[in-house]
Amino acid sequence: MRIIITVGKGGVGKTTTAASLGLALRDRGYSVLVVSLDPAHNLGDVLNFKSRSSRMKILDNYEIIEVDVDEAVKKYLDEVSLMIKSTFKHLSVLNIDKYIDILSNAPGVEEHALMSEFKRIIQENDNKEFIIFDMPPTGLSLRIISLPFIHRSWLVELKKLRKAILDRRRMLKNIGEDVGEIPVDESSDPVMRELDNMLKECDFLVKKLTSRDTVCILVLAPETLPLLEAERALRKLTSLGISVKGCVVNKVLRLREPIPELKSKIEEQERCLSEIRRTFKGMTIVEVPFLEQEPRGVDALRRYANYIDSLVESILRS
């Protein structure tokens, strides 16, 4: 199973690109699942698909999922609450449900919930050849994606500290001090066990994200701000060890006749295009013109796919 993630500034065409990329792969005979992790979904809209359920079959071998973010947060907190209840058994007076309710508004919980959905979806859809994730705008995307990496380094530090604690306890015990009923070995320490469990969960995600089978596609418009965001995303993703395969420059204005009012716009575009070729050298860069009609529905998305054909090929080659 391979994973493709589309990242870029709001409104540049991530969803359109994800849906069309999926279609192109499906038309080449692969089974494809496109997943929207954006709290503001429009994957169904882009495909002109009316039914509103979370999982929809558009064509044979082409399914989409729109993750209900509120539902995901709830599911995530339910899991957490269950886990906590089982460990805080002796504290039945503690009204954990109240606390969990409040947690749903805590900073960072949405990212955690989305990351945990990401994990659940790739675990439950192992039979698909491609899973394409349509992400929310850059900032939130990068926060979600870097979560397991940040979490992992915390856990590693906590483990080191815990190990130092157990070492001291063992030393005291060895020189005959009475340390009481506390764990002195890593194997008997429940804290170490829990740290290891959490580390294992992070490792799974870190491994998946940095695997050769996972690639990010940057989507941008030939304008200064989307370009700056794409550069930032490229730096961040590369520093995490995630492979960025290519970029889609969408909504490129190609005018038959020059229009004076658009002169400076076109100049900015050309400046950005040459900057893009410099910054993303070595990656597959594809351009999609600004289309007269919004590319919505299967047929329009197939036409859109023609523009990104060399990107599809390069994904298939790698």
Partner: protein
Amino acid sequence: MRLRDIVKKMFSGISETFKERSAELIKLELRELENAFTLLVISPLIGLPGPSTITSLRLLPYIERELSQSLNVSRRLDDMLAEMLGYLDIT
């Protein structure tokens, strides 16, 4: 008493005090490490940056003893300073 015995006795006395002394230092170190660990674990719950809230909640049940120890320490922070200075023979 033969000189050898005297020397032996003297040394065993010294090593006893050394042992006591180092045990006290290890205990002090252990408590500091436990406090640091506890603080890191609960930091997201008290609004400090740290590992996620969820990490905290998952570890919390197992660090009850350390947690109450840390709380005690912070309650008598002044005492603790005196205690540490005592260990280091500064006063």
